[in-house]
């Protein structure tokens, strides 16, 4: 750090040259992740719940947090919950990855070609508002019950935000950025890949952030509806067996997955599109 400080002083017109040092960012993120006030509040809420379930609320359907905790620990030792986590995460990551690749490639293609956009526009406008769960019966007929249907549903639902964000990102690149490249003799193809696509990275990341949440909703929904295994199926099974502590343990795991995914996506965003000041503050969802 001392070297960069020395450069600042000698710099011509250096009124605010904070060095682009990516190592500084994780510390800031760390500070916001370990939000002490929030943590104390959450722990307090759990303790309150513990107190309430131990005294006033004594329903078998509302177990005490401590019971859920011990259920979670014992369930994690056994195979059921663990294999559920594996199946759910596997389908989730596959679906999101396919949607991301397809959404970026097709969104970029639509952004590159007005002809392609006009050709597909009506089809897209029809398919996009279609709730993906409405397609589950059709998907079961076509693909059968299992991971394939789950993945297909995730792809269908999380594809759209990525497609549209990529398309608008490629389209909305500032004309000066494009003209700069054209002045230096880059042809349309080079401008597209060297300027438009990197510029659209900000939008692409936003699309993937939105889709990462949608995909989680979809994977659990499809698992619950099709009883095809995974955490969704685990939760229904525990409900049917009136093993409420275990059911809540399953729901808790889903929550943890959602939280970790959101943190991971935000972290990746900060690393990959570090130049975008909007995301530096974090927590903008």
């Amino acid at each position: 750090m001392s070297a960069t400080t020395a450069e600042r002083v000698d710099a011509p017109g250096a009124d605010r040259p904070a060095p682009t040092d990516r190592r500084r960012r994780p510390s800031r993120r760390w500070r916001s992740a370990v939000n002490l006030r929030g943590l104390v509040f959450a722990i307090g809420l759990v303790l309150l719940l513990e107190l309430l379930t131990a005294t006033v609320v004594t329903s078998v359907y509302v177990p005490r947090p401590s019971e859920i905790g011990s259920a979670l620990l014992s369930e994690l030792q056994r195979g059921d919950l663990m294999s559920g986590i594996g199946i759910t995460l596997g389908a989730y990551l596959q679906g999101l990855a396919i949607a991301a690749v397809a959404g970026v490639v097709l969104g970029a293609a639509l952004g590159a070609s007005e002809l392609a956009y006009q050709t597909f526009r009506i089809l897209i406008e029809f398919l996009r508002p279609l709730p993906s769960v409405a397609l589950i019966p059709f998907s079961i007929l076509l693909l059968g019950v299992g991971t394939t249907t789950t993945v297909a549903m995730i792809v269908f639902a999380s594809f759209w935000p990525i497609l549209f964000n990529t398309y608008y990102g490629v389209r909305a690149v500032n004309p000066v950025a494009i003209e700069s490249a054209r002045i230096f003799g880059l042809n349309r193809r080079q401008v597209f890949f060297r300027v438009q696509i990197p510029s659209a990275a900000v939008n692409i990341a936003a699309g993937i952030r939105v889709s990462s949440a949608i995909a989680l909703i979809l994977v659990i929904t499809v698992e619950i509806l099709t009883r095809s295994g995974g955490l969704g199926y685990y939760i229904v099974r525990m409900q049917v067996a009136i093993r409420t502590e275990d059911m809540y343990a399953g729901i808790f795991v889903v929550g943890v997955i959602g939280y970790v995914v959101a943190l991971a996506v935000a972290g990746l965003e900060r690393r990959i599109i570090f130049w975008n000041s909007d995301i530096r503050e974090g927590g903008d969802r």
């Binding site: 017109g13 250096a14 605010r16 682009t20 700069s180 054209r182 230096f184 990275a201 130049w275």
Partner: protein
């Protein structure tokens, strides 16, 4: 020391051959939009520093875009070495006013400056690195190679975009209001950087053309000034600036000749409307 006020005298004073020939240039963005440029004609000679000044919104940037081949004129031509420009010529580079958009935030300073060389296969890696280093040295940014533009001040970012144009080693360097977006003190520093750049460019027989709305800046830097009228713009007057070189901020700006030229240009820019004559058919549409 005298200043030529008549275009005819300009011819005798600068014997070098014409490199850029702007002839009867007209631009209208759409049939129902007003005329932006109305019959612009002037020449730029090899090795000259020409400043084009005109009131805000008079079509200066439009003119520069047409000269650099990224915008098609409605009628008239711009020729470089006698050939009509239809696309950005490889002999030309442009520095935009809007450095925040013309630089690429995801690339480091070094890679931004190397950007125009990327497609040039005739240069070895070492030659490119050498050119980038020299360009950064010319604008006083050695040591900032690994920074990202977002970490630099406005003045430094504009230096980066000047360095990028220099690395391209153009025969003609076009500058579009290069100091319009920086504060007054930063501007003085940049102007002197540009004086150094000008000397280096002119030693190599290269030409510079700057568009500005700042009369003082134009007189301080230029060998010749083309004064444009209010929109739709046409050439109101051409002036040779015979101030002694090397120029500096204190002496040059307080030189009696400097003050005289400034008063004259103020006069011309204020008078252009009446000189035009109300009966001119070109203004009525």
């Amino acid at each position: 020391m005298t200043t030529s006020l008549e275009p005819t005298q300009v011819e005798d004073r600068v014997p070098a051959r014409t490199i850029l020939d702007v002839s009867e240039l007209r631009k209208r963005y759409a049939p129902d939009r007003p005329l932006v440029c109305d019959g612009l004609t002037f020449q730029v000679r090899e090795g000259e520093f020409v400043a084009i000044i005109g009131p805000s919104g008079c079509g200066k940037s439009t003119l520069l875009r047409m000269m650099s081949g990224i915008l098609k004129p409605t009628s008239g031509t711009v020729s470089l070495h006698g050939r009509t420009i239809t696309k950005p010529p490889p002999e030309m580079a442009l520095v935009f006013q809007d450095y925040t958009r013309s630089l690429y935030p995801w690339l480091t300073v070094e890679r931004n400056v190397r950007f125009p060389l990327a497609r040039d296969k005739s240069l070895s890696k070492a030659e490119k690195a050498e050119r980038v280093a020299r360009a950064l040295d010319n604008v006083g940014l050695t040591g900032f190679e690994s920074y990202h533009p977002g970490a630099l001040s406005g003045g430094m970012q504009q230096r980066v975009s000047i360095a990028r144009a220099l690395a391209f080693q153009p025969q003609i360097l076009l500058l579009d209001e290069p100091f319009a977006s920086v504060d007054a003190l930063t501007k003085e520093g940049l102007e002197d950087t540009l004086l150094d750049v000008r000397d280096r460019m002119q030693d190599a027989g290269n030409t510079m053309l700057m568009v500005t709305h700042d009369i003082d800046e134009a007189i301080y830097l230029a060998d010749r000034i083309v004064v444009l009228s209010k929109p739709p713009c046409w050439v109101a007057e051409e002036l040779v600036i015979d101030l002694p070189k090397p120029r500096n901020q204190i002496e040059t700006r307080s030189h009696p000749e400097f003050l005289r030229i400034r008063a004259h240009i103020h006069d011309v820019m204020g008078l252009t409307d009446q000189r035009r004559g109300a009966g001119d058919s070109r203004t009525t549409h």
